[in-house]
């Protein structure tokens, strides 16, 4: 799958949306399509929110221009020409009837958007996401004979079927937001919130933390991948398995270093003695698209860079830098992690 798939519009209402989006983009002069854009909706909820935004923004702008125009007219037009502005009819029509009609339309519209958005669906895929400074713990609970597993900084969902994400926080308040797929939901310590949505077109999107949560708040993102059902099931089956055994001496050396350095006191690698629950589960870290909560593409080079310079890359993050590995050690450790597909 490549980024192109995310650019294809929803089959429904595609032309209207595309044209409207193009217009909005022309207005804002910003790139609007892409992996993290509320202006490029990839699901029904995001589409409803998008239309609400569009209508409110364009409507508000038009009314603002109208009122400003009338105001300027009232100030600069000669008295005999502007006299009608002070008449009873103008006040009744412009000051009473117009706002009442506009608001009487917007209120039910807003309520209907509210009613139809974030609706829990029977049979939805359940996922639990816990916000932590500064990453996302993602749990797929046991379901219909499939066992539970954890991953981090990625949410993989089947396309076209409803998902309910249950969120909370392990420390401070975070907020879970996938602009292309729906609205935001706060992650509050000691409280459980839910957000339901459906990804309607396959693709790769990005979620972000939308509530300032500390120094590295801006580096707290996650990948969202909407896969076809069969690909999703294959992913899920692979994630359920314990970590791959290293099949090369180089990789075994990496695993020994992982053990010796005590990485396992914070990280789980299922199938090994590493069972620390503090940091992200690394059982299948090699299968993720990115590392460090969306900071780098995932490869041996960035993994090695992360391990050696954690505090330089994300200062204040709750993993120490391991600057004392030799180059060769770092490469084998990174290669071991990368092999954990």
């Amino acid at each position: 799958m490549d980024l192109k798939t995310t650019r294809q519009g929803l089959p429904w209402r595609r032309t209207v949306t595309t044209r409207a989006a193009a217009f909005a983009c022309a207005l804002s002069l910003a790139g609007c399509s892409g992996v993290q854009s509320a202006l490029d909706p990839a699901g029904g909820d995001a589409l409803r929110i998008y239309w609400l935004t569009l209508i409110m923004t364009l409507g508000g702008t038009l009314i603002f221009l109208l009122v400003t125009g009338v105001l300027l007219y009232a100030i600069f037009a000669p008295p005999e020409r502007r006299a009608w502005l002070g008449g009873r009819r103008t006040i009744v029509v412009g000051g009473l009837a117009f706002p009442i009609v506009v608001l009487s339309g917007l209120l039910p519209y807003g309520l209907i958007v509210m009613r139809d958005t974030d609706v829990p669906m029977p049979g939805a895929l359940q996922v639990e996401v816990i916000g932590e400074q500064y990453w996302w713990r993602v749990k797929y609970p046991e379901e219909g004979g499939k066992s539970e597993f954890s991953t981090a900084n990625e949410l993989i969902v089947p396309v076209g079927s409803p998902v309910t994400v249950t969120v909370t926080s392990a420390d401070v308040i975070h907020s879970f937001w996938i602009p292309n797929l729906g609205g935001k939901i706060d992650m509050i310590p000691g409280r459980i919130n839910r957000l339901s949505f459906t990804a309607e077109r396959p693709g790769i999107y990005r979620g972000v933390c939308a509530e300032f949560c500390g120094d590295q708040h801006a580096r707290m993102a996650f990948d969202v991948v909407a896969l076809e059902r069969t690909a999703f099931e294959a992913w899920r089956a692979a994630q359920e398995k314990p970590a791959r055994e290293p099949d090369l001496p180089f990789l075994s050396r990496g695993r020994a270093l992982f053990r010796a350095a005590g990485c396992g006191s914070c990280h789980v690698v299922r199938g090994t003695e590493a069972d620390g629950a503090f940091g992200p589960d690394l059982t299948h870290v090699g299968s993720r698209r990115t590392i460090g909560a969306g900071q780098f593409p995932n490869n041996i080079g960035t993994l090695a860079g992360w391990i050696a310079n954690t505090q330089h890359i994300k200062p204040g993050v709750r993993m120490p830098s391991y600057g004392s590995f030799t180059g060769e050690e770092l490469r084998s450790l990174a290669a071991y992690l990368e092999s954990l597909k």
Partner: protein
């Protein structure tokens, strides 16, 4: 303020007062019922929250409508020689109760669109 003036002012403000009461009842009752998980109770087949909202809205609408008609009648009955305050109060009464009718309706609309404890 004479008794007559007090009555006039009350009539003028009746719509607003009805709105305030409706507002308090709707918010208070909805959060109490939903918070205590009594929301499933039904009244004549209608969910209790929706029933309360509908009744409070209806009652407030009736009060505001009476205030509107009353102010309208008084305004229409004023002669050429009526005192300026009488004219003003009855006119303001028409406007205030008319607007109250609109906001009371708006306030009740969510009950017809949203589920009770969403």
């Amino acid at each position: 303020m004479s008794g007559r003036r007090t009555g006039q002012v009350l009539l003028m403000l009746a719509g607003l007062i009805a709105w305030a009461v409706q507002f308090t009842v709707i918010y208070g009752v909805t959060s109490t019922l939903c918070g205590r998980e009594w929301a499933d109770v039904t009244l004549l087949g209608v969910g209790i929250v929706h029933a309360v909202v509908a009744l409070a809205t209806l009652a407030a609408l009736i009060v505001a409508a009476l205030s509107f008609l009353g102010s309208w009648r008084i305004h229409g009955g004023l002669g050429e020689t009526a005192a300026a305050p009488d004219r003003f109060i009855s006119q303001a009464g028409i406007l205030i109760s008319g607007l109250s009718l609109v906001v009371i309706l708006w306030q009740g609309i969510p009950a017809f669109i949203l589920p009770a404890c969403a």
